[in-house]
């Protein structure tokens, strides 16, 4: 039974009209609908219905695929959200003290220099680098004539010193 069968037209009209008018209105409606029943609309042909059913069936697999991909996206989004929230939660609620020990890295990349004691090597390297820089500065000063030294002999002396440092470095 549909909802129309259960409604009482006379009661419905009686809410707005007198009993007599309501009765007459119900009669008008019933006679009008009788005309529609007596003059039925054409039926859809069977070929059309078969085509419609075929088209509906054709559209179903793509709909299923869409549902599957939508579900996959939703699961991926939910998983990502859970991971982000967990990461934030761990950061916020993790009370373990953060280590304050300073870890020093080597000046020399390990794949270049494979020393036994990298800390000592670093100190020596820094020392050598400073000495070389000083000598280079003096050398540049002599070459440009700014220094008041003995000219060529001072230059040779410095060059000798530079060569000595270089040799010492590679000896160790």
């Amino acid at each position: 039974m549909n909802s129309r069968d259960s409604e009482n037209l006379k009661d419905l009209f009686a809410r707005f009209l007198s009993d007599e008018q309501a009765e007459s209105s119900v009669e008008d409606i019933q006679k009008g609908e009788q005309i529609l029943r007596e003059n039925p609309a054409p039926e859809p042909n069977s070929m059309l219905l078969a085509n419609i059913k075929a088209e509906m069936a054709m559209r179903l697999p793509s709909r299923r695929a869409n549902i599957f991909s939508n579900t996959a996206y939703r699961i991926a989004c939910a998983a990502a959200t859970i991971m982000i929230i967990s990461a934030i939660g761990i950061r916020l609620f993790d009370k373990t003290p953060v280590s304050t020990d300073i870890q020093y890295g080597s000046l020399i990349p390990q794949n270049v220099w494979d020393g036994v004691d990298i800390t000592t090597d670093d100190a020596e390297l820094a020392d050598y680098a400073i000495k070389i820089e000083q000598i280079e500065q003096e050398l540049r000063a002599l070459q440009s004539g700014e220094s008041a030294g003995n000219g060529e002999s001072s230059l040779t002396e410095l060059e000798m010193e530079l060569v000595a440092i270089n040799n010492d470095f590679w000896k160790e």
């Binding site: 009209f13 009008g32 005309i35 529609l36 859809p44 059913k53 509906m56 069936a57 179903l60």
Partner: protein, 176 residues
């Protein structure tokens, strides 16, 4: 006609993508929906198109049906499809207004297809205003209650009752 339990099972089947359930829904409602479109357009080819569109929409939108009167939901979709058609026809008409009247009369008024003859009822219906005609057809083919129709049309039930009463009375006069 399927009882409400059978229909509920069919709709569950449709929602899970079962083509046999969709096929049964077509068998149950095709005739009424076709009558609705035919009485509104007076054209069989157009009614064929609109009916196809309705059932394709059914596949696409079945997940949005959340219970309540299935007829109400289905005929709301049918009504939307009909209004979309009216809007597209209106747009075409506007476009063609700038062109020759001869072309316009050929394209805009596809009332009859081939040797189709309109029945007397159809001819009289076309003398009525479109809103009243649509209301009469909605009531007759959807078999919805006045309460549901009034809700669907977003108007007070008294207005729906009065319009339908006037419309059917006029139709009787035209047919007599």
């Amino acid at each position: 006609m399927a009882n409400s339990d059978d229909l509920a099972q069919l709709i569950i089947g449709c929602k899970s993508g079962d083509s046999r359930c969709f096929s049964q829904v077509v068998d149950i409602y095709a005739s009424r929906c076709y009558g609705y479109f035919y009485r509104l357009t007076g054209n069989r080819d157009l009614s064929d198109e609109l009916l196809s569109e309705l059932f394709v929409k059914l596949v696409e939108k079945i997940s949005s049906y959340k219970g309540g009167s299935f007829e109400g939901w289905l005929f709301r979709v049918a009504s939307n499809i009909f209004h979309d058609y009216l809007r597209s026809r209106h747009r075409r008409k506007k476009l063609l207004d700038s062109q020759k009247e001869q072309i316009e009369s050929q394209i805009i008024e596809p009332k009859k297809s081939g040797n189709e003859q309109l029945d007397i009822l159809q001819m009289q219906l076309e003398k009525m205003d479109s809103d009243t005609r649509e209301l009469i057809m909605l009531r007759f083919y959807s078999e919805l209650s006045f309460k549901e129709i009034a809700k669907m049309r977003s108007e007070p039930i008294g207005t729906t009752l009065a319009k339908l009463h006037r419309g059917l009375k006029k139709l009787r006069e035209l047919m007599s």
